[in-house]
Symmetry: C2
Amino acid sequence: MPENPSEGWRFPEPTHNHRQCVQSALERAESLCRARGCRLTEQRRRVLALIWQSHRPVGAYALLDGLRESGHNAAPPTVYRALEFLLEQGLIHRVESLNAYVGCPQPEEHHHAQFLVCRACETALELDARAIDEAVADCAAHCGFKVERQTVEVRGLCPRCQRKTHHG
Amino acid sequence: MPENPSEGWRFPEPTHNHRQCVQSALERAESLCRARGCRLTEQRRRVLALIWQSHRPVGAYALLDGLRESGHNAAPPTVYRALEFLLEQGLIHRVESLNAYVGCPQPEEHHHAQFLVCRACETALELDARAIDEAVADCAAHCGFKVERQTVEVRGLCPRCQRKTHHG
DNA sequence: CTCGGTTGTGTTATAAAGTAACATTTCCGG
DNA sequence: CCGGAAATGTTACTTTATAACACAACCGAG
């Protein structure tokens, strides 16, 4: 958890250079797997690239369609095995409340992530907020509960979509 | 969110009077629906009672089996419609990470709930921790995000199951 | 009470998400 | 270039959830 509370998480602007998001994610995945001695195979890379096509969580069957459209025949287990690998390596997260998967911008260190998910544009912003993490840890400790995994998913409206819907 | 941070949430003891949990939950549901002018029908009451048979989140199809065992024929929509109603009224919560449903001990006021879920005994303890709520709200506000729903689910080991597995 | 609309339920079929089991292929070190 | 481990292909299936439409129960207005 390298972040500090003053870090400024921001929803990605529609104008941002997304091509670079994808490229950077793939490069980091590449070097991370090399360092760990595990194999980022073609299928796995394809699935990761498909996930990074947007900042929206993507369902497994949408990924399946994506593979098929690009001529790579596949069945559900293909996708789920790739997802399993990517999850294990921390390259993606699963958004439980959507049964969907999203790229992790910080794959080098395993962490508890939290998500702000816009119900309008469906963009998911990953936070790694120490404050939330600690609040959860405190409550758990108070109950004598040993934390293994956290799921924190917040649904609502991102700044941009608030402006749109309020026309303000 | 009536709780204060010093409130002592506790995992239910195996010896606790569970019959009373159920009875109290049903009575509160009854009076709450009467007050709100909505109908706690037989099917809805049955589903609520089945959910309260334990402190573990229960899947929709387990509830379906429960209905059938007690001679009340039912198909999936029956259960899902009852669940929808109970969720709307705040009488139960959905645990996203388990696709399962659990009774709410505080149905009178709508709230963001958080759950500690034991991976061994599957008991779910509902917290209504202002500290977590505020940490999330702060982060969201910092990003200009308008919160509508929170999902906070913590997986791990409850005190009792820690003692068992460590044989300590 | 009784008509008629709203609300709730029954029923069938199907969509969406995920996994089990086993055959086949690819990779890579000896 | 051989052999075992890792990855992929393939088929079938389970679990979770919803759509669509028919029917029945409830309840207030007349």
